[in-house]
Symmetry: C2
DNA sequence: GGGTAAAATGTAAGCGTGTACATTTGTGTC
DNA sequence: GACACAAATGTACACGCTTACATTTTACCC
């Protein structure tokens, strides 16, 4: 086995140069003779040398670490979004530090631990933590909010969704086809994105002169969609159930099938997020989702910006991915 | 806004002590008067001070970082397993660095970047990277393999599954109920866990004096399960399809439903992994899975060990989670 | 109270880099 | 060949912390 953890000084000895030259060989556009650099890089490669990122971060005060604050990666919606973002970061030689908040009693403590690593950026993907707490804890990092919490004048970059047009498109089509009894199944009514989705839905219906009922007790899980739908469908007969996310929408669809309610003939179902499995043959849920890859692109762009520039707000438009959980347009 | 990034020396001035005392206040069981520590911790809290993990890591040569090498977090099987592991790490004040290999052309380059952060441990959750490459790149870290690749005498800790008993249990029941025509749908035949699953299956069938067919073209995705099942079921009528993972099993079930093949009456379907959605009402796939939480527990235990101890091998037994994709036992 | 040992704190030297500054080497000109 | 000037390299310190060692304070006992 080769030597463990060569340092720049040791490599310098081997190369017959000073450690400063080693450093220069690894720094782009620095003053060094091309042949020297080539020789050093070859030697480094041979010995498996890499500049110690800890030491480098320490005196450059920039770590190239990005803290990703999510609820859980077990959830397809978060997992799929996260995956794209991670790929974009990796392509830029940045490293994601993962913080999973769900099931963790003290989220602030978690953030405090991560902040000790002096991350350059923090992406708040989870609405389970407060922006103010995060800003307070990650003092010197650039905070980027992706959880749709209102900024209220805070000097923070954010990426938010706009599903108003897509929602109107769905509602209009359903109304056109004669649907009148709409229900919204909430995921967590305290969640900001949930509030927004409901409000877009509410606006779209209002424009059609219609009202709707709300079922509050969902929790974003398949099981809750299923359970709430069974309860609801036993006492009422809505035309349309719009769910705060796709997982609940799938639960609703299964509940309908249990109760012999035909989808989409008797009941149309709409989800949110556009997770891969909503598109599976057995589910085929019509869903309102951000344009493919747009969120992670926007986040990556913000991360690439000069940190001294003022924060930036980006809006990503949503589209409809039609499935068989809503009726087809007549030809 | 408060000062950005206080250092230990600055805090020392504020507290009227030396920086060494600050350090001791943050180090468990070190020689310091309890009142002094309390006073310093209170002051630190007030000013939002935390020891810089970079500096600390640099001279302790231990970072409390753990590199998690996975294919993708978009996949439920990896996402769910990862989530548990992340929680266990966080509970121990360790930070996960996430490396997603899928879609990344040069995995070794990715690992090299991560290795610059001097992670203490590397968990290989992905079989897309070579153990030898990982060991070579993460020279001074403790490598832990969770991808079922054979160790071949390498001095590496690993956690592997044993599904032999569970597989036998499934096969025996199906044979008892008269099933004779078994097919195995592979995910990626080069994958080690896939080979193992097929071999357990093969052994269980052999014990019953039966043979089976193999469909090689799966790729672990729902779509491939669906597609391969359609092709297969159009030309043959197996009793049982055992899939390399749950996603393909769900695809197979949907394909069966498309072709009006009744599950489980005409066709029994078995998956692997035990992902949450396999248990959903609409799917209800019988699956062979590790005992809940055992893998992440084993990994966390290995991570907690003294790094000077020799590597350790752990085997996690699998169980059967029965669903409605296999016939019920007659009463 | 003086002496001793234990407890608490201070001092200073690293940990492995990057970089400002000093120094050496190379190039071209008269 | 001496000179000026640019290119390339070396020197030394800082980044923020831990820790071995030195020093001071406290506690205790005769």
């Amino acid at each position: 086995m080769r030597s463990k953890g060569l340092t720049s000084v040791q490599l310098a000895k081997l190369a017959g140069v000073s450690s400063a030259t080693i450093s220069r060989a690894f720094t782009a556009d620095s003053l060094i003779k091309p042949e020297t650099r080539a020789r050093i890089l070859a030697l480094a490669d041979e010995h498996g040398y890499r500049p110690n990122a800890m030491a480098r971060s320490l005196n450059m005060s920039q770590s190239r670490l990005v803290a990703l604050v999510v609820n859980t990666v077990a959830n397809p919606a978060e997992g799929e979004g996260l995956d794209q973002l991670v790929h974009r970061l990796q392509a830029r030689e940045r490293m994601p530090l993962l913080l999973c908040c769900a099931n963790h009693e003290d989220r602030n403590q978690l953030m405090r631990i991560a902040s000790a690593y002096r991350v350059d950026h923090v992406v708040l993907y989870s609405d389970a933590v407060s922006i103010d707490d995060a800003a307070d804890i990650f003092r010197s990092a650039t905070l980027i909010v992706a959880s749709s919490e209102p900024l209220q004048g805070r000097a923070v970059s954010d990426v938010r969704l706009d599903a108003s047009a897509a929602t109107r498109q769905v509602v209009d089509r359903l109304v056109d086809m004669g649907r009148r009894h709409f229900v919204y199944l909430s995921g967590r009514s305290s969640s900001h994105i949930d509030k927004q989705r409901m409000s877009w839905f509410s606006d779209a219906l209002e424009a059609q002169g219609l009202a709707f009922d709300v079922v509050e007790h969902g929790d974003y899980s398949y099981e809750s969609g299923y359970k709430e739908a069974v309860l609801l469908l036993r006492r009422a007969r809505p035309d349309v159930i719009v769910c705060a996310n796709d997982l609940m929408a799938i639960g609703v669809k299964d509940a309908a099938s249990l109760l012999n309610i035909r989808v989409p003939e008797d009941l149309a179902i709409v989800g949110h997020d556009g997770v891969a499995l909503a598109n599976w043959e057995a589910h085929s849920i019509t869903t309102i989702m951000p344009l493919e890859g747009m969120v992670s692109t926007a986040l990556a762009e913000i991360i690439d910006r000069d940190p001294t520039e003022p924060p930036m707000q980006r809006v990503v438009d949503c589209v409809v991915r039609w499935g068989r959980s809503t009726p087809e347009l007549p030809r």
